[in-house]
């Protein structure tokens, strides 16, 4: 195999053969080494959350990855290619401009969608959190009404301590509901400066990493209405039971706890798919 081994052959066939073999081994070893070194770099450079989100995004089923413009009706059947980071999306400015142009500016927008509590002073994130920008530049973050009904009346929320850093699309906090644990995606980047009390609607006060905070990827009231309709449809499809034509609404208002409507469903799977944590 090597020239120092007794009876090594120096004919062309042997040299070509061994040369090819060593090249293949070298390439494979190089690939594995490169992957290992880059992994170490990522671990040290604290890119873990970003990698986790991007990897998981690929694993979400196509409906969960629908582009916001597809949901609002401006682009049909489009799937997000940028992990919901609208700020970095090349198509975003064009689609946004098109939407602004074609939307009826005077359309009366009823922001109460299907009986869910949606507020006009909040911006909503695809991970079912909302952000409210305060006058002092800080932002409040909370779980939206849809998520509350998914998680049931008594979820156990584990918030990060004051001083923690939130990364965009990293894990903001975890919620335990029954036997399931859900990691709620952070809608923004910043530092946690206050934790909300149980009477308040908000969970965390965050000082954004950049001021004013980047909110391109968040949905305003009008977008959120269509989005909630879309999410209800998605939820229906997940737990669809052919032949049973019931809905999750009780005479117009959605029930307080979705999980009670379909005993025997893989509720852990539903939570994962709806809260974008698979």
């Amino acid at each position: 195999m090597f020239p120092f081994v007794y009876d090594f052959r120096w004919d062309t066939t042997s040299l070509v053969f061994l040369g090819t073999f060593f090249s293949v081994v070298a390439v494979v070893a190089l690939m594995v080494t490169a992957a290992s070194l880059r992994s170490l770099k990522n671990l040290r450079g604290r890119k873990i959350e970003a990698i986790r989100w991007h990897d998981m995004f690929e694993d979400l089923p196509a409906p969960a990855r629908a582009c916001r413009f597809s949901i609002s009706g401006s682009a049909r059947g489009r799937v997000c290619h940028n992990s919901f980071e609208c700020g970095g999306c090349q198509m975003f400015p064009h689609l946004r401009a098109w939407e602004q142009h074609h939307r009826d500016q005077h359309e009366e927008v009823d922001i109460r969608s299907l009986g869910f509590n949606l507020h006009d002073d909040r911006l909503y994130h695809r991970g079912h959190t909302w952000v409210r920008q305060e006058e002092d530049g800080t932002c409040l973050i909370g779980l939206d009404d849809f998520a509350k009904r998914l998680l049931g009346p008594t979820p156990s929320i584990h918030l990060p301590p004051v001083g923690s850093t939130l990364e965009l699309h990293g894990v903001a906090f975890t919620v335990q509901s029954g036997i399931s644990t859900v990691r709620v995606i952070s809608p923004m980047e910043g530092e946690v400066i206050e934790i909300g009390s149980s009477e308040q609607d908000w969970l965390m006060r965050v000082r954004p990493a950049e001021e004013p905070a980047d909110t391109k990827h968040l949905l305003d009231g009008r977008d959120a209405r269509r989005w909630i309709e879309f999410e209800m449809e998605r939820l229906h499809q997940l737990i669809e039971n052919p032949g049973v034509g019931a809905t999750l609404a009780d005479g117009g208002t959605p029930v307080e706890d979705f999980s009670e409507m379909r005993p025997g469903t893989d509720w852990d799977g539903v939570l994962g798919m709806m809260m974008l944590d698979v």
Binding site: M1, V5, D7, R9, D11, T13, S14, V16, F17, L18, F21, V24, V25, V27, V28, M31, V32, A34, A35, S36, R38, S39, N42, L43, K47, I48, I51, R52, H54, D55, D59, P61, A62, P63, I179, Q237, L238, I239, E240, N241, G243, V244, A246, D250, G251, E260, M261, R262, P263, G264, T265, D266, D268, G269, V270, G272, M273, D277, V278
Partner: protein
């Protein structure tokens, strides 16, 4: 109980049912390992091979499973080189099957040789002129590549990916997969071919000997083409089988039709080349060594029907079926065509190993027959059991079919009384 290990959003059977399923295969594995143990400890006299039948059931089945495992490299070719993104639906399953086929074949080879502990001699003192050296090197390299390709699938397990090192490592490995896939294609081309070349270079076996291009006999290329032909079909068949056993939809039907169509085209090309090769062999190659081809087929039970079966019944017929849209899009016919094609490839491997050795070259020796001993059969059953066990664990705890989440509802019960 192990629900936290199962990918989120996928339904798997109860742990009890799964354990019972696994228990059966573990018992079979145990029985098979006993047969293998006897062969290793007592010696190869535990088999029914002899000085004339130097290769038997093991080599025949090794060649067959390696041909079936070609689905791993071929799906990689379709996805990473030809950029046919729809095949990401089956690539993970194909990689697992490839890993099973190759590791199983290597394990059986380790038992088949008389002195397994000396296997490293082939690496230390390689004879580059021997086809078997080429096979050894290529298969070892490819097994390593498959193991590396399996790693990201494994590390993406729901619990394992919570470990940051694993999460980040599989992410980086994923980026280099196209290059690894390209290497896998290169290696596969050579070892599938060399396995054919093993027999095609044997001038001492005029039944198997073929002319060719350069140092490579025509059987080199025929084996590559037949492996490429059967790869997609085998991926399709295993997907259907797993789908039936698990009672889940795993891929969109168009993927299976697509695999069938690709298999059909390559199989048709193979039938064409094989026919030409057979004609050349009958009319020129064999007679030049003073062996009339007809004397190969006047033995009991090994008549010309074998040639007809290989090329027409199990070659041309499934190829035509796979190329006919109406048949291909009907699952029953698709599966039948796939099975026929697999049978044809297996028959080809059988002919090149068993029939080649049954026929004597020396005029004073007789045509012989051979029946495998139970130890040989047991050893191979161990490989099958190992394959099922590894695949079952992978299917339960890893995402082998990315489209599965899209295709199955999370509702469990069919009749639910709705509380309002």
């Amino acid at each position: 109980m192990d629900s936290k290990l199962i990918p989120r959003g996928l339904e798997r059977t109860t742990l009890r049912n799964f354990s019972l399923w696994m228990l059966f295969w573990v018992i079979l594995l145990g029985f098979g390992l006993y047969g293998a143990y006897l062969c290793l400890v007592e010696g190869l006299n535990q088999t029914n091979m002899d000085n004339r039948f130097v290769f038997g059931l093991w080599i025949f089945l090794d060649l067959t499973v390696i041909a079936f495992g070609a689905g791993a490299f071929f799906t990689g070719l379709l996805l990473y080189v030809l950029k046919r993104h729809e095949f990401s639906a089956v690539i993970n399953s194909a990689v697992v099957i490839g890993l099973i086929c190759y590791s199983g074949a290597v394990a059986v080879l380790a038992i088949d040789v008389g002195q397994p502990l000396r296997a490293w001699f082939t690496f230390w003192h390689p004879n580059a002129h021997s086809m078997l050296t080429e096979v050894t090197f290529c298969i070892t390299c490819y097994l390593v590549v498959l193991a590396i390709e399996y790693t990201p699938i494994l590390l993406k397990n729901r619990k394992l990916k919570e470990i940051p090192t694993f999460l980040v490592f599989q992410h980086e490995l994923h980026k280099v997969l196209p290059i690894l896939a390209a290497i896998g294609i290169f290696l596969s081309f050579f070892h599938q071919g060399s396995l054919g070349g093993l027999y095609g270079v044997l001038k001492g076996r005029p039944f198997a000997f073929r002319e060719g291009f350069g140092i490579w006999p025509s059987t080199f290329f025929l084996f590559v083409i037949s492996a490429a032909a059967i790869g997609p079909s085998f991926v399709m068949l295993t997907t259907v089988l797993v789908s039936k056993i698990s009672r889940k939809k795993l891929v969109k039907p168009e993927i299976l039709h697509s695999l069938g169509r690709i298999s059909g085209w390559i199989l048709m090309a193979y039938v064409l080349f094989k026919s030409i090769d057979t004609l050349v062999w009958i009319n020129r190659t064999s007679p030049s060594l003073l062996f009339s081809p007809y004397e190969y087929y006047n033995q009991e039970s090994f008549g010309t029907w074998i040639l007809f079966a290989e090329i027409v019944l199990l070659g041309l017929v499934p190829a035509l079926m796979l190329l006919t849209k109406k048949l291909r899009e009907h699952q029953g016919w698709l599966v039948t065509a796939g099975i026929l094609a697999c049978g044809g490839i297996a028959l080809n491997r059988f002919v090149m190993t068993i029939q080649t050795l049954a026929l004597p070259t020396l005029p004073f020796d007789a045509f012989l027959s051979y029946v495998p001993s139970w130890q040989e059969v047991a050893t191979f059953l161990a490989v099958v059991a190992y394959g099922v066990l590894l695949y079952s664990v992978s299917f339960r705890y890893l995402t082998l079919f990315p489209q599965e989440r899209d295709l199955n509802s999370l509702a469990r019960e069919r009749h639910v009384s709705v509380r309002l």
